[in-house]
């Protein structure tokens, strides 16, 4: 398998805090790649750097062979890296359907003139956007609530809607920031089935998650971050036994 995402030497500093310090790893095409680490390890910062929301101080990353480091967020989304947010960031006062339709923005072209004149191409594009948005809502299992305002959806449904919105951008790599946070066991199971389906349909997934059971059962490989550095990487069962990882989470053994 070839690498889809390759990161090398990514560093990011906030004032006196070195949030990321030379992080390097690569994600293979078609895998579910987990990222874990104690709070403050730099997971979300890494997400923000990879999706262009923060500029990086050093290092670079390539998606599908293209160097995306330093590009603005919208260009990175256009190149095929979509994300969800740890603290859900939906377009709260728009309907679920409109949220997903906005996800299609980057794959469509109509401008002001097309919209004002209602050209044939514009109408065809609008119809296609709406059709695709319906499909995606059904895909993540909230088609019945398409016309609800995003802020009126149940918590678990909001998480699903974020995934649908991200999928609407036709990503090569879907980056999920703690998608199971706050979910109960049933919802987590359903989420797991959804993610397996997304992967089976050809999208590679990068997953930050605190739910260790979910990470261990779902991911192909796991990266462990601690204090902004890579602590360990490998298949979940190995990583789980790695003494450094255990130390980072539980503290060192008492001598």
């Amino acid at each position: 398998m070839s690498a889809l995402l390759e990161c090398a030497g990514i560093s990011k500093r906030f004032g006196g805090v070195q949030a990321l310090d030379g992080v390097g790893f690569s994600i293979r095409r078609g895998e579910i790649y987990g990222m874990i680490g104690p709070n403050g390890a730099g997971k979300t910062t890494l997400f923000n750097v990879l999706t262009g929301l923060f500029p990086l101080d050093a290092g670079s990353f390539r998606l599908d062979g293209e160097d995306l480091s330093g590009l603005p967020a919208h260009a990175i989304a256009a190149h095929g890296l979509a994300r969800t947010f740890q603290n859900i960031r939906l377009f709260a006062n728009l309907s679920a359907l409109e949220n997903v339709m906005i996800g299609r923005h980057v794959r469509t072209r109509a401008g002001v003139i097309g919209a004002v004149l209602r050209t044939r191409a514009e109408r065809a594009e609008e119809a296609a956007i709406e059709r695709r948005a319906w499909e995606l809502l059904e895909y993540v299992g909230i088609g019945a609530r398409a016309n609800h305002l995003a802020r009126h959806l149940a918590y678990g449904d909001q998480r699903r809607l974020e995934i649908a919105r991200a999928l609407a951008t036709d990503p090569k790599l879907l980056a999920l920031d703690e998608p199971a946070a706050g979910m109960n066991a049933t919802e987590t199971q359903a989420l797991r089935r959804l993610l397996e389906r997304v992967r089976a349909d050809g999208t590679t997934i990068l997953l930050i998650e605190h739910d260790v059971k979910l990470v261990m059962g779902l991911t192909d490989r796991v990266l462990v971050l601690d204090y902004g550095r890579v602590l360990a990487e490998g298949v979940p069962t190995e990583v789980q036994r790695d003494p450094r990882v255990i130390e980072a989470y539980l503290g060192a053994k008492i001598q």
């Binding site: 929301l53 979509a82 939906l90 377009f91 728009l94 996800g103 004002v116 209602r118 956007i129 088609g143």
Partner: protein, 346 residues
């Protein structure tokens, strides 16, 4: 059913100026100003209602359009270009100023943006006030007078004319022209609101970070909102100059920006029909008061106790307070657009 409805509205719109002229010619002029305010409110609604960018200097674009018209069609520079050339120039110029305001404020939101736009509006007005020396461009506080009315060939919008046996006064002609422009601007707004661009505006209003992460070029989309809003203001300004025949910087003070913003907020931000209603109410009700307060007081107390102007601002303030208490989202809040499940096999 829909056809009948449209026909009834069309008949009402055509008959309205004659009904108003029956009460008094002043009322046709009031209707014309109401339409100008609707145009302004619709333009500002793109910036404030759709894109969520609080703009307190919007009247500056109205001023740019008005001065563009006045300078190119008056004895001031002895230029008399036809209106159908100047209006697009005014729109483009206002659009340019919109981008000029947009570029340095891209990273600002909320109160910070409001302060900068407020300053921008004042700067434009102060420039207009002072650009009379050393080279007299704007004629300073005296303003520009004897501005040409709209003219197509020999047909002037300022004179009485008899068309097909109907006598049309100047204001009535302008009413029809303004109504036509309003319908056009409404159509543009309605279509934009339900388009890819309209959704991108709403996305940056709701959450700019998420919008960027979803691939929306927020720089581009924000500037587009400023530019479009400003060009509508510019067109309205050009028409204002032609209708009035005289403009001065005094017409473009901060209170006017606040008034247009109040129309947008009162009607319901982001809802096109709400904004039109808000503009209509805030233009007509004060005039109604002007004509009813005095006779009412004379009938009740035998003399005038409170000036109409005072009551007007009092009621205006009261209306806004009540609004914020009972209908904070506006008279016609922006509704969720429901979509029927489209045929998914297509």
């Amino acid at each position: 059913m829909k056809g009948i409805g449209i026909a009834l509205i069309a008949i009402a719109l055509i008959a309205l100026p004659f009904a108003l002229a029956g009460i008094g010619t002043a009322w046709v002029r009031i209707a014309n100003f109401a339409i100008l305010y609707m145009l302004l409110a619709l333009g500002l609604n793109i910036v404030v209602g759709f894109a969520g960018l609080l703009d307190l200097g919007y009247i500056a674009f109205y001023a740019v359009g008005a001065y563009a018209y006045a300078l190119l069609a008056s004895p001031h520079f002895n230029l008399h270009l036809p209106f159908w050339i100047i209006l697009p120039i005014g729109a483009l110029l206002a659009c340019g100023f919109g981008v000029l305001l947009g570029v340095p404020t891209l990273k600002l939101r909320g109160d910070y943006l409001a302060i900068v736009t407020l300053g921008f509006g004042e700067i434009i007005r102060i420039f207009l006030n002072n650009l009379s020396r050393p080279v007299n461009i704007t004629n300073g506080p005296q303003g520009i007078s004897l501005i040409d009315p709209f003219r197509i060939g020999g047909f002037s919008f300022s004179r009485y004319d008899t068309v097909l046996g109907v006598t049309l006064s100047g204001p009535i002609k302008y009413y029809y022209l303004l109504t036509a422009v309003l319908l056009l601007v409404l159509l543009v707004n309605l279509r934009l609101a339900r388009s890819r661009i309209g959704r991108a505006w709403e996305a940056i209003r709701e959450d700019e970070v998420a919008a960027r992460a979803m691939g929306i070029n927020t720089t581009h989309v924000k500037l587009l909102a400023f530019a479009m809003g400003a060009s509508f203001g510019g067109v309205a300004g050009g028409m204002f100059a032609a209708i009035q025949g005289f403009i001065s910087p005094e017409s473009f003070v901060l209170v006017e920006s606040v008034m247009v913003l109040s129309m947008v907020v009162l009607g319901g931000m982001g809802n096109i029909w709400g904004v039109v209603l808000g503009a209509a109410l805030l233009s007509f009700v004060p005039e109604l008061l002007r004509y009813t307060v005095e006779p009412m007081q004379r009938a009740l107390f035998g003399r005038m106790l409170i000036e109409p102007e005072v009551i007007r601002m009092l009621l205006f303030g009261l209306a806004l307070v009540l609004m914020m208490l009972f209908r904070p989202a506006g008279l016609l809040p922006s509704a969720v657009r429901r979509r029927e499940l489209a045929r998914r096999d297509g």
